[in-house]
């Protein structure tokens, strides 16, 4: 308590309520001790919040690393309070024209910090953000300056939930203001379950107004299959691997021809680590939406360090595993549905006859499904099984449709719409329900978007996505027949649940929602690149207004429609188109000169 009054006195004029909150808080969340170097340091629940040896030196190192990213004019927002050594170090080297703010999730921690040591003049120059996560996010969302989030991990982890909530709220606030257009290159797989997801992502990005370059590798499927026909499996594997390498290089060539702001790969996209590293060297921003179960497909371990951003459909251990493997950023981005594809349908009588049943299941023949589905056949209801990879499932042969052929999305939607109860059993090995039941599969969202009733196995990530009133879940194999029986008897309740699920999907779970969240997550971390594009900072009208005091530049920019995104290359192309044979103005010469260097930075192939 020696220093607290003295330290807070300077803030009393500007933020009196904050000072009062700190003073009246309990404090004592941190345990103080002396570092080897002599200055005070702290622990919380036995874990060090600052270095036990030299907290100032550690803070300087952290601050210098942050400074590399933090650009002039950005508002730096520090997450993690501790004893504020890191904030002090950052304040000492902050870029000119930039402001620094610190999020205070709990006034008690601030009290500990202010009590521990005397603070300098920097203490009154910092903005202190306190209150609920929502209130702070709204405050930050209202700023016109770009935001740069700077996380001091050892201290931030003490209030991890608060920070998560804040980031979510901030993303929402920023995404509501998204008006700018990006150029996103979406790199899809050669084949597989992630291929339709890639297409949905493309559609969603376009619907959000972004320009999309769709690098569709599914056109190479037949070649890939042909290379899989060698007698020896090893040969097939080698040759298919080589094709994937070629496609990786082909992707680079496409990117070089029309450089995007962001390369978004969808799981199984053929991009090698070497190519990803080359892209990073050339300053391309890359992201991967890994729409797979990370426990089953493990190639992400080799690629973790290659992408700038990973988005995964699992949480907890999955996020930790990616971070351990070298991922720079991992975010949770669950699956979704495309309401243009998965929607309520008015079916003809013939279609109802062809696709309808009391109970249906659509999906591939994974071991647990082969073991469990026969247990849910009954004389009490009709059952139809759709999908492929059911070879040898003799006890399901009587209900298997179309001889186990793969069905397309349109047919799926008809089946969903025509069935009274759609079973949704997440895949896994073994003969039981998935023991690691965490992520929610695309089928859940697609059924919901169709306004179809479903019975799904329980997943730990369900509560954030759907309530019990939106998707009915079963927790044991034995419960399923009873649930089927119950719900078959009650079409009105089925309809009510299904409609609620559809409303939820339309409100929260479309691919447009996902793409918006993905871009905002990147934008928050790249305020100078993706962030500024999303804010519309590169639209001709905004740029022209800012260039007011250089009239010639303003004039150059006003030649473009106000809402059009304009880059240096566009202005340079405009000058080139009209400049031959006339004397160029000085500003035009400078634009052309800068552009001659810009062109060099993307010399990729």
């Amino acid at each position: 308590m020696t220093y607290v009054r003295e330290n807070l006195e300077g803030l009393r004029k500007t933020v009196p309520a904050f000072v009062e909150a700190v003073m009246s808080s309990a404090g004592n969340r941190l345990s103080m001790s002396s570092s080897r170097e002599g200055s005070v340091t702290a622990t919380c629940d036995g874990q060090w919040v600052h270095s036990a040896y030299d907290p100032r030196k550690e803070a300087r190192t952290w601050a210098e690393a942050q400074r590399c990213e933090w650009k002039e004019g950005e508002l730096g927002i520090v997450l993690g309070v501790g004893l504020l050594y890191h904030v002090e170090a950052l304040a000492a080297i902050k870029p000119s024209g930039s402001r620094l703010a610190v999020v205070i999730p709990d006034p008690s921690i601030m009290k500990d910090a202010a009590s521990a040591r005397p603070m300098g003049a920097w203490f009154t120059d910092v903005e202190w953000l306190w209150g609920s996560a929502q209130a702070i996010a709204e405050q930050l969302g209202a700023y016109s300056t770009p935001l740069r989030v700077l996380t001091y991990g050892p201290a931030a982890r003490l209030d991890a939930e608060f920070h998560e909530e804040l980031e979510d709220a901030l993303r929402r606030a920023v995404s509501e203001r998204q008006s700018g257009r990006l150029h996103v290159a979406v790199v899809g797989p050669i084949y597989g379950g992630s291929l339709p997801i890639a297409r949905y992502a493309v559609t969603a990005l376009e619907a959000l107004g972004h320009r999309v370059s769709w690098i569709d590798h599914s056109v190479h499927r037949s070649s890939y299959d042909a290379l899989g026909t060698y007698r020896e499996a090893r040969h097939s594997q080698i040759m298919q691997g080589r094709l994937a390498e070629i496609l990786s290089l082909s992707t680079i060539t496409r990117l070089a021809e029309d450089p995007p702001d962001l390369v978004l790969a969808i799981a199984q996209a053929p991009l090698t680590l070497a190519v990803l590293e080359h892209l990073r060297k050339k300053k391309f921003l890359t992201a991967m939406w890994f729409v797979e179960n990370y426990r089953h497909l493990t190639y992400w371990q080799q690629l973790a360090s290659g992408y700038d951003y990973w988005f995964v459909i699992q949480q907890g251990a999955c996020l930790e595993a990616f971070t351990r493997a070298g991922a720079r950023f991992v975010g949770y981005l669950p699956m979704a549905a495309d309401p243009a594809v998965h929607k309520p349908l008015v079916l003809t009588k013939a279609e109802r006859t062809e696709y309808g049943a009391d109970v249906s299941f659509v999906g591939a023949g994974y071991p647990n499904r082969r073991a469990l589905l026969p247990r849910w056949l009954s004389d009490e209801w009709t059952f139809r099984l759709w999908g492929n990879e059911w070879e040898g499932a003799d006890d399901l042969a009587s209900v298997l449709q179309r001889g186990g052929a793969r069905i397309d999305a349109e047919t799926c939607a008809k089946v969903f719409n025509a069935s009274a109860v759609n079973l949704n059993l997440h895949s896994c090995g073994g003969d039981r329900l998935d023991p690691d039941a965490d992520f929610v599969n695309p089928r859940t969202f697609e059924l919901a978007a169709c306004g179809a009733f479903q019975l799904s196995d329980e997943r730990s990530l369900f509560p954030d996505l759907f309530t019990d009133q939106e998707v009915v879940r079963f927790r044991s194999v034995e419960d399923v027949p009873t649930l089927i029986r119950t719900w078959l008897k009650d079409p009105d309740r089925r309809r009510a649940v299904a409609e609620a699920a559809r409303r939820r999907v339309l409100r929260d779970h479309t691919y447009e929602h996902r793409m918006k969240k993905l871009l905002t997550s990147i934008g928050v971390r790249q305020p100078d690149r993706i962030g500024s594009l999303l804010r519309g900072d590169r639209e001709a009208g905004i740029l022209a207004a800012r260039a007011g005091f250089v009239p010639e530049l303003s004039k150059l920019l006003r030649q473009f429609p106000p809402g059009q995104r304009v880059e240096l290359k566009d202005v340079a192309a405009g000058i080139r188109a009209t400049g031959a044979g006339r004397e160029l103005k000085r500003e035009e010469l400078l634009v052309l000169l800068l552009d001659s260097y810009r062109a060099e930075t993307r010399d990729l192939v």
Partner: protein
């Protein structure tokens, strides 16, 4: 006093090819103050060029950063920063810029730094039409066929002057070399600088060829010494690994460790310099050291041979005097090891299968090359081209 700026933003060899143009311009107008704009890393050589008052250093790395900064949206600050950098280079505009590259950034730099521009394009940086001498250089670059006007002389043409017919020596103060390198050239015997690499991969002489060459030369000249020169330190090390220990005491390796000033010092301490990398070859020639050029791939003696008199050039391909050179890249089927060693040690120039050998000369129309062992005959075509161009230009 009128002020002019030579703009040369290309590589070392190109910078040295500018010397005849500077000489001719200053001879034509002795009152003209001539400065040079060159890439910052080449500034030490720029300062050696005769007739240059001040060297302006063009820092490509900084300009790259400026261009990258616009990635966050083109703003007035970016142009103001660019303008500030131009003003820092030259607070006052020059009366005239002589631009010697066709690259847009050289033209733009010229247009920004000077009120008038003489260069490869007729109507400023975006003009589509080339001036006659620029068109000539472009045609030579595309077809590979020279009309026997050397590139350095064609640059004089671009500047609207005729070559003086002599190569003014570089201005250079001798300097000490670090450590054991200071022994280079100090003891008696024939010191040969051997350029181990080349900027362009297809112009690289195989290491085994250089291995054989060194062994053969040191056998033929018991007092001979070899200095390995060039930027490729690894290549220098690999070459040493290939050589028998018995020759290592007569070998110095300075590859990859010399500044340009030190490189110039090493070159002047050698009696001859041999290699295929035209940058250091031109530097040696400009420093007055006789060179043996090994020209193949896309290198053509008549276009970019070492300037001045007394140099020998082995040119791959069966080209004879007054015959056009083959276009495209020429890959030798054998290397003139014995022949170049014999020329160096005995002064004897014999036939070389797959190669022609040329002596360098200079006259009032600039540089020319005649077949070795023949009396020098200036090519008629060169004079005709100059006369024709002069009438067009004037």
């Amino acid at each position: 006093m009128r002020r002019a700026l030579m703009v040369q933003l290309a590589r070392l060899g190109d910078l040295l090819q500018t010397v005849p143009a500077i000489t001719a311009i200053t001879a034509a107008d002795p009152a003209l103050e001539v400065d040079l704009l060159c890439p910052a890393p080449l500034a030490p050589i720029g300062r050696m060029l005769p007739g240059i008052a001040t060297v302006l250093e063009w820092d490509g790395v900084v300009w790259n950063h400026c261009a990258k900064a616009t990635g966050s949206g083109l703003q007035s600050e970016h142009l103001q920063d660019a303008e500030r950098r131009i003003r820092m280079l030259a607070p006052r505009q020059y009366d005239c810029a002589y631009v010697l590259n066709q690259h847009p950034r050289a033209l733009l730099a010229g247009a920004l730094l000077a009120r008038a521009m003489i260069g490869p394009r007729r109507e400023g940086p975006l003009g589509g039409q080339l001036t006659p001498w620029a068109a000539y250089i472009r045609e030579v670059a595309v077809t590979g066929r020279g009309r026997q006007v050397h590139l350095a002389d064609a640059l004089c043409g671009i500047c609207g002057v005729q070559p003086s017919g002599r190569l003014a020596a570089l201005r250079r103060a001798s300097c000490a070399l670090p450590g054991e390198w200071d022994e280079i050239g100090q003891s008696e015997g024939r010191w040969v600088g051997l350029i181990v690499g080349a900027g362009d991969v297809e112009r690289v002489v195989p290491l085994d060829t250089w291995r054989q060459w060194i062994i053969r030369f040191l056998e033929q000249d018991p007092r001979g010494r070899v200095v390995l020169i060039g930027q490729e330190k690894e290549r220098g090390g690999q070459l040493i690994d290939l050589l028998p220990p018995s020759v290592l005491g007569r070998l110095w390796d300075v590859t990859g460790r010399t500044s340009l000033t030190e490189l110039a010092e090493v070159l002047v301490r050698c009696h001859r310099v041999i290699g295929s990398d035209t940058g250091p070859l031109h530097l040696a020639a400009a420093l007055g050291v006789a060179v043996i050029g090994i020209y193949f791939a896309r290198a053509r003696v008549h276009q970019t041979g070492p300037y001045g008199s007394g140099h020998l050039i082995w040119q791959a391909g069966e080209t004879r005097e007054n015959m056009p050179m083959a276009a495209g890249s020429i890959r030798p089927i054998r290397w003139p090891i014995e022949e170049t060693v014999a020329a160096l040690v005995e002064g004897r120039i014999g036939r070389s299968e797959g190669w022609t050998v040329w002596d360098s000369h200079c006259d009032r129309w600039g540089a020319y090359y005649s077949e070795a062992n023949h009396s020098p005959t200036p090519p008629y075509e060169r004079e005709a081209l100059w006369r024709n161009m002069c009438s067009v230009v004037r």
